[in-house]
Assembly symmetry: none
Homo-oligomer: 192 residues x 4
């Protein structure tokens, strides 16, 4: 009886479905989603939800973790392939798109930033670190001002993701990203 036998196929599927349902529920109804709703949204009973996630909080945390994982990886990937400023721009737009396709990032970001619960310390730190890497690269290249930290930019991104199915929000979000990018270029030593 190995401690971690590979999860049964249907169980893994349910786990994924639950995570998706939770993401969707966050998008639809904000942060105070009810476990019953998530379960119903995934087409399973609450018991199943609790088999996969210790508590409501644990599920929420997991949703965030996966979102953050994805984004951090993207940030590093962009840095490998593009010039720093361009990587930064693309990352901000990625954030917008990420929110757009309903991946739940908007709520994630919002919660990560709006709370100081230790539960999200990790997510916050990793996001801030990813942003710091982008900013530092730009700063080293002289195309981004050097006095803004990843943590600060993370806060500033709130507006990009704080949206709720408003008409035309995508263009709005892109414009905000553009504003911040212009602001970051403003004091650079080698203005692009």
């Amino acid at each position: 009886m190995p401690t971690s036998r590979p999860m049964r196929a249907d169980a893994r599927r349910n786990r994924e479905t639950l995570l998706s349902a939770a993401r969707q529920a966050f998008l639809d109804g904000g942060a105070e989603v009810h476990v019953e709703d998530i379960a119903r949204g995934a087409g399973v009973a609450v018991g199943t939800l609790y088999r996969h996630f210790e508590t409501r909080e644990a599920l929420i945390e997991e949703v965030w973790r996966s979102e953050v994982d994805e984004l951090c990886a993207a940030a590093d990937g962009l840095l490998d392939r593009f010039a720093p400023l361009d990587a930064l721009r693309r990352f901000l737009l990625l954030l917008v798109d990420h929110s757009a396709v309903g991946k739940g990032m908007s709520v994630a970001l919002e919660s990560i930033m709006a709370t100081d619960s230790p539960v999200f310390d990790d997510a916050r730190t990793r996001m801030a670190d990813a942003l710091t890497r982008l900013l530092d690269a730009g700063s080293a290249a002289g195309t981004v001002r050097g006095d803004v930290t990843g943590a600060t930019l993370l806060r500033a991104l709130g507006g990009v993701c704080t949206l709720r199915a408003t008409e035309g929000w995508i263009d709005e979000a892109r414009q905000i990203a553009g504003l911040l990018l212009d602001g970051l270029r403003h004091g650079a030593t080698h203005p692009a």
Copy 2:
């Protein structure tokens, strides 16, 4: 609450105390404060709270309205006394200070932006309008780019106010305000 009969002095005092207590409670405990706590904070019983405010939502709305009134008035006052770009800068810093002195603006803004509940439509619209007046003045003067709406800037301000007693958040908030301001100047026809 018939307009005809003026409210008794103690009743009016209770009303004000309740509004203050609610503001303070929002600051201390986020948005999901309990009515009991607000009432206790005001030194009255829940029954008294309900005499003055139809529902919990009505009280919250009222708190927001007064915050927004104050800020909108400030925006117009600044426009009267300063050049548009300067007025905009001062307004952004005012927002930061407003949050700083515990006036509850941060939570207000957050809620106004993060919800699309019709309850806050009014507050949202008035805030956006105030910002639009500031932006339009700058745009007319050629010191602010002309393609950003008040509604968009309102969203972008989320990061300025989304803070929770973090060490050094004031400097962070000011820096974000600065970033946005620089971004807004970037495409202006007459760069300052």
Copy 3:
């Protein structure tokens, strides 16, 4: 606003009713009574129960405490008025009657003895102390053997109270009390 204004008449009445209902519920259904049942039994809603008692456990504890208070007081009263051995005999019979009139003592005793939860340490200790006083008096008078502690007698009393609406249980309980009493006299220095 004095910290402890005397409780309103109807509130006090509800509190008492709830305690009675809880006692009755314990008698009827053992220790795993449901809060809803207790509340219904008292003719109030669960919310009222929770206004008076922090948690289910707190209510149970309170029931026990009042039962134990009553019995300990009785023990001391008997010692004042009767010779030690007689006081002991009367106390044991009192225990039987106490169970008989549905005061819930049986379940109380059972729970007190069958658990080592710190919640009941106090109740256990006070009961044991009361019994020790009775035994010591008898021992000093030479009518009760001197090597049995109150704690041990408390355990031995389990059988007196462990009963569930059996036909003829009162006589049975009295007989058990008699057996123990005879056992306690057996090694006395001055057999009665």
Copy 4:
């Protein structure tokens, strides 16, 4: 479970293991053990548990039955080899030891006595009958008072078995057994 086909060796082994695990679980955690825990303790999955026992209750009943079988057999064995009063004394001490060696008797007895569920009627009756045989023998020999029934003594034994890993409980249990024995001798026609 048709009697016709003998149970497979591994199936029988699982059944035994489950009974042991249940006994142990009762000892460790009281009466409200969870089926999952029992199954885990036996190293099998719940499904296997349910293959062997219709319901949780059925398993519990089975545990009790085997305990009671063992004790009743012991009672009769003692009567064959010792004088009635001696047999009774030894039986009471056996009960103590039985509890001591973790055979689960304490919980069994407790449950048998503390419930009037028809589920345990059988166990209760057989235990009472065994005690009655011991008492009757003593009564016939004139060394035990004749007016106490096995059922009553069964109830009185509660205190002997109601124990939870208390320091020094064995001596306490033996002393209680001694008290009861002395009480039973007290009114005998031929006091020992």
